[in-house]
């Protein structure tokens, strides 16, 4: 599977990573090389094989639906690049 420049642009946007126009071509080459390596998987006969969902056979544990933590607004905002009046502040989202 080969990735072209347009696909590289699309993947970069899906990943929310800004890539300069000039860097798209080398990026496409890099990604294509890695995907070629993954194409080895096409040699494997996977007929009837279940995809792995959990490496150790286990049921997801459950607990009572109770509040065990909370009231930590100051902790949660402590590392924010921009916090105002108890909220995370971001550029305008809604017009």
């Amino acid at each position: 599977m080969s990735i072209d420049k347009d696909t590289a642009r699309k993947v970069a946007h899906l990943a929310r990573i800004e890539v300069d126009e000039a860097a798209l071509e080398p990026l496409a080459k890099d990604l294509s090389r890695i995907l070629d390596f993954m194409d080895e998987l096409n040699e494997v006969d996977i007929e009837g094989v279940e995809p792995m969902t959990s490496v150790t056979p286990m049921d997801l544990p459950r607990r009572a639906d109770e509040i065990t933590d909370g009231n930590r607004q100051a902790d949660i905002l402590a590392n924010a690049p921009d916090a105002r009046e108890g909220f995370f502040a971001v550029p305008k989202v809604v017009e």
Binding site: L35, P51, P81
Partner: protein, 495 residues
């Protein structure tokens, strides 16, 4: 007692209990070794005030006579572990300035057992790398050198700071994490012991996530006995990690009898890879002979899907990483890029991540986004998860046939020079994980033990792969191998 920093955990524990020296003396020796180690670039944050407070508290417990084995033992902590109030960046610029208001479960357990934190250790950014060259702090340098050369060598990665710090006697032991080989490969490159426990043995809570179905924390130590002691203090059920196993933690140290008579050790033919250096082949053969001499039986086995482990890993790990790393958006913590007039939140996200993530992390996040994207999910991600099932089945089959453990080389080469792989394509770097990555895909425990030197005097290691939850038995075999190999080499101090 100026060289207390060179002690093993076991020797320090015994010395502390006998009163030969105190926990503060031991901590001071490590603090000064760590402070004088700038040339290795292993420590990225020193926490001497915290260390001294913890050492005083540890000494009180030791003097009171109720101290656990790890009490007073100075450790380095990989930067992937959240440490309350102490910078935790996963060696990434995107987490610049991040100080978690909480402590990871594994480090919390270590501090509760009386261990002392010396500081945070360098690593590959978000644990993505095999040479520690992707760190925002620059590469860690291996204490070992080739013969009389002064070419700086990599300690491996991603737990390279941990490996270098333990090997260079900057601490008694260190925490590491292993997603595809990130404990075992650097352990092998630096002549120390590294354990990747069974998936679920150690809580992942508070460890910066890379690939959640593969990540495990483990000890990096100077001996197998130390690994057994430290793993006991790190392991255990944690309700905060839903994949943490609710199983009792055995006394790993008590399992170290050295008696492996009658054990069946599998030698997988698929691990004899093309282009493997002759000295790795010889090391492997000699290790097998040592186990045989100790009374084990060697059995040729086949793990037919081994070849597909690396490509499957490089689909699954980036897919999980792209999901896990979506949280770094410049909103809640870490770096936020500046936007220009007329730009909005999308530009903020995209520029934040472009500025904050290094090249390798960007590459993997994009690969992950691609293999999970509509139209490619089945062809890549789902197929890789099916191949993962087959890889795990390979191991289940040989264990069901009576194999107790599997012996393989730990790495395909000795440590290489910093920058030597810079021009190689990314795949060449990925090949470092060829012997270790199967173990993560199958959720098994693995241990790397130093057993010899290459022609240039660099350490080489062998890997033992155990059964699920069979760390105790695996460590006992590693102990027998360690005893037989008698690896007593040490990098001469040049820094």
């Amino acid at each position: 007692m100026s060289d207390l920093n060179t002690l093993t955990i076991a020797a320090a524990r015994d010395g502390l209990r006998k009163g030969d020296f105190t926990a503060p003396e031991l901590t001071e020796a490590c603090l000064s070794a760590a402070e004088g180690s700038g040339a290795l670039n292993a420590f990225i944050a020193h926490t001497p005030d915290l260390a001294r407070t913890q050492a005083d508290a540890a000494q009180q417990r030791i003097s009171a006579g109720d101290a656990p084995a790890m009490c007073g033992i100075p450790l380095g902590v990989k930067d992937l572990f959240a440490t309350k109030g102490v910078q935790t960046q996963a060696a990434s610029a995107i987490l610049e300035g991040f100080k978690p208001p909480y402590e990871s479960t594994v480090t919390q357990k270590l501090w509760e057992s009386g261990a002392v934190m010396l500081g945070k250790l360098n690593m590959d950014e978000f644990a993505m790398g095999s040479s520690n060259e992707t760190s925002t702090y620059g590469p860690v340098i291996n204490p070992w050198r080739r013969g009389n050369e002064d070419t700086p060598l990599t300690p491996g990665g991603s737990s390279g700071g941990s490996a270098s710090a333990v090997s260079g006697d900057l601490c008694l032991a260190a925490t590491g994490t292993d997603t595809g080989g990130s404990i075992r490969q650097p352990a092998a490159f630096t002549g120390i012991v590294g354990v990747k426990p069974t998936y679920g043995r150690c809580s992942r809570w508070g460890i910066v996530a890379f690939a959640s179905s593969l990540d495990q924390a483990g000890p990096m130590t100077k001996s197998v006995r130390d690994a057994a002691i430290m793993l006991g203090a790190m392991a255990g059920h944690d309700p905060k990690d839903s994949t943490s196993a609710d199983l009792a933690v055995p006394d790993f140290e008590a399992a170290l009898t050295g008696d492996i008579r009658g054990k069946k050790i599998g030698i997988p033919k698929e691990y004899r890879v093309d282009g493997m250096p002759e000295e790795i082949e010889r090391l492997w053969h000699e290790g097998a002979e040592m186990l045989r001499d100790a009374g084990a039986e060697l059995v040729d086995i086949s793990l037919p899907h081994t070849k597909y482990a690396l490509p499957a890993y490089y689909v699954i790990a980036p897919a999980e990483a792209s999901s896990n790393l979506a949280r770094y958006d410049g909103v809640r913590y870490g770096h936020r890029a500046k936007i220009r007039q007329g730009e909005g939140i999308t530009q903020m996200y995209e520029r934040t991540r472009a500025e904050g993530f290094g090249d390798e992390v960007q590459r993997r996040v994009m690969i992950g986004a691609y293999v999970l994207s509509s139209g490619f999910y089945d062809a890549y991600y789902k197929r890789a998860q099916k191949v993962r099932t087959l890889i795990k089945r390979d191991f289940e089959t040989v264990y069901a046939d009576g194999i107790d453990a599997i012996l393989t080389p730990a790495t395909p080469s000795a440590a290489f020079g910093i920058g030597e792989m810079a021009d190689a394509d990314p795949i060449k770097m990925y090949l470092n994980d060829v012997f270790t990555v199967t173990v993560n895909l199958a959720g098994l425990p693995g241990v790397s033990v130093p057993t010899g030197l290459d022609a240039q005097g660099l350490p080489l290691g062998l890997q033992l792969i155990g059964q699920p939850w069979g760390e105790a038995e695996m460590l006992n075999m590693a102990f027998a191998l360690e005893n037989a190999a008698g690896f007593a080499h040490h990098a001469p101090k040049w820094w």
